[in-house]
């Protein structure tokens, strides 16, 4: 059980506090309700580039990292389709430095051209390192526009095209900041060696004076229901052929979410998942295969991806994947497996909650979803899933007209 308290400031900043006296540290997590889905299609990758710029100094503090390191702290951040999330861990005696740093960069950034130039190059190298210089690295870049035609999830967080990043200017950066970075568009979570009273006092002191800003209500195009099978073949000089299949799901808060997440675990959770057991161990069609749900706030995807063993025909491998998935639709022999997956969710939650960083990130995200209490309730939501729900969801979502497939074919000839 994670006990937490909650309050908000007049400027709209929402705050969650969980005290854990067993650690000398405090984790400070700030979630901004902005991700790559909020970008203009002509200017993608900006939310993520912005995450980099947030470390380049703010209005009163020329260097973000230095004072933090000076008090024994450490930090990192990530951006995804939905959110931009920053987190610090600081020895509790110096937590006020964290408040000073985070509130200053919420107040205003030091928009310097030098910083923009450097971070543009760094992000381009990040793009090269993650997507271009890895075998299969571009598969995900090709999958999104296949599955999504109008919703902004059709581009990845790094950006649709690296030229968008290359041509960003300071004006766009400033506009982005003032329309998304605001106390009324942020959630602060504090976990670890801090009391509610101290958290309240310091938050009021440092964040209280920041004025509310105008944040436009999000109006995103709704992805129309897919009604035809989609297929793409890529041929490349990679060591082996790979298969990617995705199906649309409902939003994160839909009642089906837990069922579908549980289904991906039945398929690929651990060594004993169905796909691994049938296709890697028994039939030896794949060298590895995985399935997961994207957990996006708007309707997301279930992704199945696997690398084929040599000399295996891809259509044959795909049929075998479909067979395993179809086996869920009749629900036979599934009782023990469901119990196993539910136990695993319970254990995962307990292990995840041993880390103050995870606890702070979860509290912030659940608050964004509208219910921070989920941190204690999600394991129960998985417990509630029945055999019938699995059968219904599998039959509803795993249909060919809801599916996009990539054959990533190896052109390499055997030596």
């Amino acid at each position: 059980m994670i006990n937490f308290s909650r309050f908000s400031l007049d400027n709209g900043l929402r705050v969650l506090v969980h005290e854990d006296k067993s650690t000398p540290l405090i984790s400070m997590n700030i979630l901004y309700d902005v991700g790559s889905r909020d970008e203009d299609p002509g200017m993608t990758g900006l939310a993520h580039l912005f995450e980099h710029l947030m470390f380049g100094g703010s209005i009163n503090i020329p260097d973000f990292d230095l004072p933090l390191q000076m008090v024994g702290g450490e930090n990192n951040a990530f951006t995804n389709n939905d959110i931009t999330n920053y987190y610090l861990t600081i020895p509790s005696e110096n937590i006020e430095t964290g408040f000073w740093l985070e509130s200053d960069r919420m107040l205003e950034l030091d928009f310097s051209l030098k910083n923009l130039d450097t971070q543009r190059s760094v992000v381009i190298e990040e793009f090269n390192q993650r997507y271009l210089n890895q075998p299969y690295g571009d598969a995900i870049l090709r999958l999104r526009p296949l599955a999504y035609k109008v919703h902004p999830y059709r581009w990845p967080t790094i950006g649709m095209d690296i030229s968008h990043i290359e041509k960003t200017d300071l004006e766009q950066v400033k506009r982005f900041f003032f329309s998304h970075y605001a106390p009324n568009n942020a959630i602060l979570a504090l976990t670890g060696n801090i009391t509610h009273d101290k958290a309240f006092r310091l938050t009021s002191k440092w964040f209280g004076p920041i004025e509310k800003r105008i944040v436009q209500t999000r109006k995103l195009p709704v992805e129309p229901v897919q009604n035809e099978e989609r297929m793409l073949t890529i041929e490349k000089d990679v060591p082996s052929t790979a298969l990617y299949k995705v199906w649309h799901t409902g939003p994160r808060i839909s009642p089906d979410f837990y069922t579908l997440d549980l289904i991906t675990d039945l398929l690929a959770g651990g060594e004993s998942g169905r796909l691994h057991t049938k296709l890697v161990r028994e039939k030896k069609l794949f060298s590895e295969i995985n399935a997961y749900i994207t957990s996006d706030i708007d309707p997301g995807l279930i992704i199945v991806q696997g690398k084929l063993m040599k000399h295996i025909n891809i259509q044959h491998a795909e049929e075998a994947v479909n067979e395993v998935i179809d086996s869920l639709k009749n629900g036979t022999d599934i009782k023990d497996e469901m119990e196993k997956v539910k136990n695993k969710f319970e254990a995962t939650t307990v292990f995840s909650n041993t880390s103050i960083i995870n606890k702070a990130a979860s509290l912030s995200f659940y608050e964004l979803l509208g219910n921070p209490g989920l941190i204690n309730m999600e394991a129960r939501e998985y417990r509630k899933v029945t055999r019938e729900m699995v059968v219904d969801s599998a039959s509803k979502y795993f249909v060919p007209s809801n599916c996009s497939t990539i054959y990533y074919k190896s052109t390499r000839k055997d030596k």
Partner: protein
């Protein structure tokens, strides 16, 4: 309108790091057990570690394959059963075989301790190494290997170890496709019998440890005996290759990988804490000189880092980065410049203060919670050291002077002795 002065709040010195001592005892067969009590949740981390790493192997991949095959079937369970039951109890099993040691780590809910111990005994002491599973594993590993050989960072790291430790030594041996055909169940059984023995084993338990743990460990592991066959360390000597600068051409790549470094002292050497501090300053954290120069100033890379690591027979230091192809030469020049600067000019007090404070915070993180505690314990214990190593490190962080850092840079970063590996297209 704002009355608040936005200046840095007072900085307080950090509390001294508290490191709980492990309590130790021996099982009936003499195997040592270490217990570290920590945490708030009803879970434990259970590690069984053996002197069964690569250094013990007489054929490439023997150590890692034996380790990976432990859960592929035992006297009483098939591989499918082992995996399913562990998953059923919500236990997480990690297997690992490194250069010196190999073993398993299990994360589990306390209420399932007895079942997990029973399965751990099957995995560690009753594996049967079925041939079909072995063949299928080797095919999978070959296909993973082929994917990894496409990545410049893997090619560079393998070549680096080969150059620094020598082609012949298990620390430096690079795999070739042929190696994937050379193993059979008898070889694995032999390696297992010699190396996975109670004499070679230590158990590290951390978390909210249930009372009956000692009793249960004895029940499941206390009566296991070995055939006392001596396993020998590799007779090959560690000797770096003569060539110091190596380029591997890999066409079609947009980034080049760089590895620069050499063999060095390990944790047992009195200079090691100082070297750790020097390494951090050079490339060991986000504010390091390499990161500031090559990422934050020049934008050549997404990341650059340096590290110092200890092995049983030696240690090594390595600077690692992937940079855009066109900036590879520039990045190399800047790396050497930064090393030379550390050898020539004493570090300013302000920069050293940041390093001191950052490291003091790092030390708190190294001992925060049951999982971190167990890892920190093990990484001193395996070198025959105890917590006094960490107290020496903490003391050195507080007292090291700029001159000492300059001297360490001159002693341990002699540029003529460093290997330089680059991989990418010309």
């Amino acid at each position: 309108m704002e009355s608040l002065q936005r200046v840095q709040p007072p900085v307080f010195p950090l509390e001294k790091v508290v490191i709980p001592e492990a309590t130790s005892f021996r099982l009936n067969n003499g195997a040592p057990v270490f217990l570290i009590e920590a945490g708030t949740e009803e879970i434990i981390r259970l590690e069984f570690t053996f002197k069964a790493g690569q250094v013990k192997e007489y054929l490439p991949m023997l150590a890692s394959t034996t380790n990976m095959m432990l859960s592929e079937g035992s006297q009483n369970y098939t591989s499918e059963e082992l995996n399913r039951i562990l998953d059923y109890y919500g236990a997480f099993l990690n297997m690992s075989a490194e250069k010196d040691r190999a073993g398993i780590v299990v994360f589990l809910l306390n209420k399932h301790i007895e079942k997990v111990l029973e399965l751990s005994r099957e995995i560690l002491f009753r594996p049967v190494f079925p041939e079909a599973e072995l063949n299928s594993l080797m095919k999978k590993r070959l296909s993973w290997y082929l994917v990894n050989r496409e990545k410049v960072q893997n090619l560079a790291m393998d070549k680096f170890f080969e150059s620094v430790f020598g082609k012949q030594h298990p620390y430096g041996h690079q795999l070739i496709e042929q190696d994937f055909n050379n193993l059979n169940p008898a070889l694995l059984t032999d390696f297992h019998t010699k190396n996975y023995t109670p004499e070679n084993m230590a158990v590290i338990v951390s978390g909210k440890i249930p009372e009956k743990t000692i009793e249960l460990l004895n029940q499941y592991f206390g009566d296991i005996s070995s055939k006392k066959i001596n396993s020998e360390e590799s007779k090959d000597i560690l000797k770096g290759e003569n060539r110091k600068k190596i380029h591997i051409d890999k066409s079609g790549t947009v980034q080049s990988a760089i590895r620069i470094g050499s063999a060095t002292i390990n944790k047992r050497h009195p200079d090691y804490p100082g070297l750790k501090i020097l390494d951090l300053l050079l490339g060991g954290y986000f504010g390091s000189r390499l990161m500031k120069n090559i990422r934050e100033e020049k934008g050549y890379t997404y990341g650059i880092s340096s590290s110092v690591s200890s092995l049983n027979l030696t240690g090594y230091k390595v600077i690692s980065t992937e940079v855009s192809r066109k900036n590879c030469r520039n990045a190399l020049d800047e790396i050497y410049k930064e090393i030379q600067l550390l050898q020539r000019e004493p570090v300013k007090k302000s920069e050293l203060d940041v390093v001191r404070n950052y490291m003091a915070g790092e030390m708190l993180r190294m001992f925060d919670g049951p999982f971190a505690l167990a890892e920190s314990f093990k990484s001193a214990w395996e070198f025959g050291l105890d917590n006094s190593y960490y107290f020496r490190l903490a003391e050195k962080i507080k007292t090291i002077e700029p001159d000492e850092i300059t001297l360490l840079a001159q002693t341990y970063y002699n540029i003529d002795e460093l290997y330089e590996v680059t991989v990418g297209s010309k």
